[in-house]
């Protein structure tokens, strides 16, 4: 192992990691928003929108992120929507993640007993208050394990960003291997940096899961 090489290129990886994390956070946040809205539309079986949402969910979950990215990066400009690599990465993550999150939230809402909604309504709370104060907190607690799994899955999926020439971790590693043939060191750094990003998320995730389990349930 060439430690001098490793020391020299750590800053490059740091930069790439920062980019991965930034796009990851933005994309996942958008995925959560998309998922919440779609999950609610799915659960309440909103007439036309419900159909559109279920088509979207199937499309996003059954096509690879790489292809979604190609479509956004090379396809959209053809119909006049220009995207730069970063926006494209975020949009791809939001598109893919939105479908997974929608299913996670929908099943969480379904797990909340319908009579809880009636109980809230009978107290005179309106629909929005009922969802916000009574249904969603319980639904989120139920879907926390699946939610955490989604976040980790999406962060790992960022490794295909290099395909649209985003200078992320994967791109950096491939680049260095191409120039210096230091395969071992480059891949070693790649693994280390992915672990550095994902391990804290995992740990935080299991804390959240434990809390969610404690927060509810068992009447």
């Amino acid at each position: 192992m060439d430690w001098k090489f490793i020391a020299e290129y750590i800053p490059l990886y740091q930069e790439a990691a920062a980019l991965t994390v930034k796009i990851g956070i933005a994309g996942i946040a958008a995925a959560i928003g998309t998922g919440l809205v779609c999950g609610m539309i799915g659960y309440y079986r909103v007439p036309v929108l419900g159909r559109i949402v279920s088509a979207y969910v199937e499309l996003s979950r059954n096509t690879p992120l790489l292809i979604q990215l190609f479509f956004i990066y090379y396809g959209l400009p053809k119909i006049g929507i220009r995207t730069d690599a970063k926006a494209c990465g975020m949009a791809g993550l939001a598109f893919l993640g939105g479908g997974y999150m929608a299913e996670t939230f929908r099943s969480g809402i379904e797990a909340v007993d319908a009579i809880q909604e009636e109980s809230a309504c009978s107290l005179g709370l309106n629909k929005v208050q009922t969802i916000w104060y009574v249904i969603l907190p319980q639904a989120l607690a139920v879907s926390m394990p699946a939610f955490v799994a989604n976040v980790i899955f999406l962060l790992k999926e960022t490794s295909v960003f290099s395909a649209v020439s985003l200078m992320d971790l994967m791109f950096t590693a491939k680049d260095l291997i191409g120039i210096y043939y230091n395969t071992t060191e480059s891949l070693f750094l790649l693994v280390i940096f992915y672990l550095l990003i994902l391990l804290p998320v995992s740990v935080l995730g299991s804390i959240l899961e434990r809390r969610a389990r404690y927060a509810g349930f068992g009447t």
Binding site: I115, L125, A141, G218
Partner: protein
């Protein structure tokens, strides 16, 4: 006669074409306690659920202080705030502690000041013997305690009418009493209530009027003494018999092993 709180006229409720409540009319006056009894499936729960518009209705009208209440009411939220409902399985919100369960609707739906409601909630919790459980979560309470919290939660909305649907049916026998005593206390305060119960002794004690439902219709109604001691209809008599037990043969002649005669 006192003012009318609830007027149900010619109510009809169907589930997929099957009639569950059939041309039912009932007026509840202020301060009156009505106990609804009847065999399983006769429509007691459905009746209560119609009263606060948890169900849509297929015919007739329900009016609360003269105002029609149905799922189409524009001011449904306001109307529902006047009707407190207590469910068989408590339906407390499991992710909130006792106090937050009670404060949610008064603060969010009625926009009352949290501090003022909290004072009232603590006083009411005190009355039902739960002043030291305000910070507990529902899962930390016994069934009887949960049901008393649910009653306090309903009361804090200052309802004009209280609905109780078999609120002791899920409780262990020793907890039934603590809940029923709270309801008796409310009756003494002059609350207007519509109570569904299978506890006949309690029904007799608390009711001003008994409504006996059978197959979605009022089969018999009257003061509890008359209803329990001298039911007018055969159907009611038969129903009341299901609560008493008799042995046909009490001349214990004994039986020795090997002598069983079948």
């Amino acid at each position: 006669m006192e003012r009318e709180v609830l007027e149900i006229s010619h109510l009809r409720k169907q589930y997929d074409g099957q009639t569950v409540i059939d041309d039912l009319s009932l007026t509840v006056h202020e301060g009156e306690v009505i106990v609804v009894i009847g065999p399983s499936g006769c429509g007691k729960s459905t009746l209560l659920r119609c009263v606060n518009a948890l169900e849509d209705i297929q015919g007739g009208q329900i009016r609360l202080h003269g105002e029609p209440i149905s799922q189409k009411s524009r001011n449904l939220q306001q109307l529902r705030q006047k009707v407190g409902m207590v469910f068989q399985n408590y339906e407390l919100f499991p992710h909130m502690n006792v106090l937050d369960n009670i404060l949610l609707a008064p603060v969010k739906a009625q926009k009352r000041a949290r501090r003022e409601v909290k004072e009232e909630a603590m006083a009411l919790l005190g009355r039902v013997g739960l002043e030291n459980r305000a910070e507990s979560y529902p899962r930390q309470l016994s069934g009887g305690q949960k049901q008393r919290v649910a009653i306090v939660r309903a009361l804090c909305m200052h309802p004009e009418l209280l609905l109780f649907d078999e609120v002791t049916a899920a409780l262990d026998p020793e907890m039934v009493r603590e809940v029923l005593e709270v309801i008796l206390d409310l009756a003494d305060q002059g609350r207007t209530m519509l109570v569904v119960t299978h506890e006949m002794q309690f029904a007799r004690a608390v009711a001003d009027r008994i409504i006996f439902l059978d197959q979605g219709r009022i089969c018999e109604e009257g003061p509890p003494e008359t209803f329990f001691d001298a039911p007018k209809t055969e159907r009611a008599e038969k129903f009341l018999k299901t609560f008493t037990f008799e042995r046909k043969n009490k001349s214990k002649s004994g039986i020795r092993p090997g002598e069983e005669k079948l």
